[in-house]
Every structure is written in structure tokens, then in C-alpha cells.
Amino acid sequence: MLRDVWTILRKDWQAELRTQEMAGSLLVFILLIAFLFGLTFPARRDLVYFFPGLVWTAIFFAGMLGLSRSFAGEARSDCMKGLALAPLDRGAVFLGKLASNLLFLVATELVAVPLFFALFDFSPPGHWGTLVAALALGTLGFASVGTLLAAMMAGTKRGEFLLPLALFPLEMPVAVGAVEATAGALGVAGAHAGHWLKLLVAYDLIFLVVPYLLFDYLMEVL
């Protein structure tokens, strides 16, 4: 099982390393968003109140772009049939794709988050452990539902357009939870990081198990 997941993950990353389809354009996109926010939200003393929202908006937009491409290669060359016929558990295919999307989102965040802190010249007395937990749990919740929907949208017309339409409402608890937990980690008064981290854990658990089960059915028609 774990080896199957690893196989899928390695396949995706080898493809990415060879073509460098995503990395370059995404890096530029993140830089662009950061500068756009830097220009439109000038650094102020009460920045801490909307800083978490800005960071997560950037992550969601970049993640959306990445997700909508994550199955494009498979759809283009009809690889989904190959994956469906491969002697793998179909849940492992889901977990593999999820792992590769996660890895890719984490790479994005490793660039984006320090960039935001630097650009806004922002150094609050924060709990860094809580911040990392919020980032990790929020990313996992975003990626698990995102992987399921991206697999569906890859096969439809207007898929790139429909993906955010379905994904953003579904991710509302993640958006709220991640932003509030981040705010708590950065020491915003009234934000209870612990509360929201629990919500994120619950969301992640539900939406790890449900897509894992439903992916079986989805693979039949992809």
C-alpha cells in the first residue's frame, strides 16, 4: 500500500522534474501575488489582523492553479485508464496523487510564507509551532478535497473554471479555521488557535476518509 503511494508520488515528481511544467510558472505567480498584496495593502500597524487572510488567500489561489494541473497530464494522454488498470488499490492512487499535491503545496508555502513575512516586514512575537501546525493542517484539508475534485474536473469541459466554484465553498471551514489558527499563532487577541486547530483536525479526518472511499467509484468513469 505505502509502496504504491510512493510509486505514484515518484512518478509525478519525476514528470515534474523533467518537464518543469509547474514549478517555474508557480514561483512567478506567488511572487506576483505577494507584490500585488504588498502594493494594495500597505504595511500598517494593524497589519496582523489581515495578514493571515492574505497569506492563505495566496496559498489557496496558487494551490488552485496547481490542483487544476495535477490531473491535466493524466487526462491528456489518457493515463487515468492506465492507472485504473494498474494492479494497485484505487485508494492508493488517491493517496499517491494527494501526496504529490501536498508536496507541491508545501514547496509553494516554503517560498510564499517567508516571502510574505519579509515583504510586509512583519515579525510578531508568535508561536512558531502553532503556525506550522496551522499551515500543515490547513494544507492537508485543502489538498484532500482538492485532489478529489481535481480528478473529476480534469475530464470535463470548463474544468479549470468549475474547480474553484465547487472547491471554495467546500473549503470554507478550512479557510476560516486556517486563518483563525494562524491569527492565534501570530498572537492576535481573541483568536484561539487551539479551538481552530481541533476543527481543522476534524475536517482533515472526515475529508481524508470520504474522498478515499469515493475515489474508487470515480476511477471507474475517469
Partner: protein
């Protein structure tokens, strides 16, 4: 014949509900100082909200039934119910915002029930748009079923998330029973029943149409093969 019975019962029930609403129910809820007209929106609001909930539960159940049985009949039920659910949710949101303006002085607050309803509306509009963009019936049915299940399971989490902000929505139904005089209760219950009949009537109608559409596309496909 059964169809006629359902149609006319629905007609009379909705008419009765409106008569009670406008002519019988009090203009002001006890202890509330709201514009008298806005109180009458309340009965439409709760009736529509209740049936939106019913409609999306039907989508959920039909989606599971489809994945278990692979019978396209269930897909048609889910799709029809989702369409009606979106209409009822829109009515809920519209009456709710007007009422909120009159009662709270603002069009919109980030109250958990409001937020959840809005998210629900977005989710099922996306559901319908995605249905439209898939052409193969089997693929469309699986996509819709998966979406219907995920969307339904998302709702309690959305509500919980929204609830951890402050809640100012009036609590009408509590453990102690209704906090309303009998005339309001009667009007509200009639509204519930009437809207439920309306839902059944539309659902039945919409599934019949969907069945004909499906048969027609099958015929067309067969004809293309012949040529």
C-alpha cells in the same frame, strides 16, 4: 389520477398557508419591534429553509443509492431535488436578507445559519453547473453522486465553523417547545406542510421530465447508429 390529486392538494395548501399568513397570523411577534410586514416573510422563510434541507438530504440519499445500485433513476432524483433545493435556498436567502434589514438594520450578518445557507447555495449551484458540463450520463451520474455526498457531509462542519463566531439569529424552536403564540404556530406548521407538498409536486414533475429527456437522448443515439 394520482398526479391531479397531488397538484390540487398542493394548490389548496399553499393558498391556505398564505391566507393564514396574511389574514390570521399576528403582525408582530411577541416581544419584537419589527416592521409589521416583515413578520409575514418569516413563514415563507422557514418553510423554504426546511424544504431546502429536505431537498439536499434527498440528494445525499439518492447519491448513495446511485453508487450502490448504478441505477440512473437515482441520479435523476438527485438532480431534480438539487434543482428544487437551489430554488428554495434562494428564497430562504432572499426573504432572510429582507427580514434582517428590517429587524437588525443590516442586509447581511455572518451568523452561522446565514453563512451555512449561503455556502449550501454555492455548493449546489456548482453541483448543477458541473452536471451540465459532463455529457456522458454514467460519468455525470458518478460525478454528481460524489459531489452530492461530499457537499452534504461538508454542511455540519461549515455550520460548526461559522458558529464559532457570534450567533445573533433568533432561536425559535428550543427544547421547551415553540416560543410562539398558537396562531403563529398554526400558520408556521401549515407553511411547512404546504411547502413540503410543493416540493413533492415539483420533484415529481422534474423527475418525469428528466425521464423523458433520457429516453429521448437514447432514441437519438439509436437513430444515429442506424444512420
Amino acid at each position: 389520477m394520482r398526479r391531479e390529486w397531488l397538484a390540487w392538494t398542493t394548490f389548496l395548501l399553499v393558498e391556505a398557508a398564505m391566507a393564514l399568513n396574511f389574514l390570521y397570523a399576528p403582525n408582530l411577534a411577541p416581544g419584537e419591534q419589527v416592521h409589521p410586514l416583515s413578520q409575514h416573510l418569516f413563514y415563507i422563510h422557514v418553510g423554504a429553509a426546511w424544504n431546502a434541507a429536505v431537498a439536499f438530504t434527498v440528494v445525499f440519499v439518492a447519491s448513495i443509492a446511485y453508487l450502490r445500485s448504478r441505477d440512473l433513476k437515482w441520479d435523476l432524483w438527485a438532480a431534480a431535488s438539487a434543482e428544487i433545493g437551489v430554488v428554495f435556498t434562494a428564497v430562504t436567502l432572499l426573504t432572510g436578507t429582507i427580514w434582517a434589514k428590517a429587524a437588525w438594520g443590516v442586509w447581511w450578518t455572518w451568523d452561522p445559519k446565514l453563512t451555512t445557507t449561503l455556502i449550501l447555495w454555492f455548493l449546489f449551484v456548482a453541483y448543477l453547473l458541473i452536471r451540465e458540463s459532463v455529457t456522458s450520463p454514467d460519468t455525470r451520474a458518478v460525478y454528481s453522486a460524489v459531489l452530492g455526498i461530499v457537499a452534504f457531509l461538508d454542511v455540519p462542519v461549515v455550520f460548526l465553523a461559522a458558529r464559532w463566531w457570534s450567533s445573533i439569529h433568533p432561536v425559535v424552536i428550543t427544547g421547551q417547545g415553540f416560543l410562539m403564540p398558537p396562531s403563529m404556530v398554526l400558520t408556521m406548521v401549515t407553511g411547512f406542510v404546504a411547502f413540503t407538498f410543493l416540493y413533492c409536486y415539483w420533484l415529481w414533475h422534474r423527475t418525469a421530465l428528466a425521464r423523458v429527456e433520457r429516453r429521448l437522448s437514447e432514441l437519438r443515439a439509436r437513430r444515429r447508429e442506424d444512420i
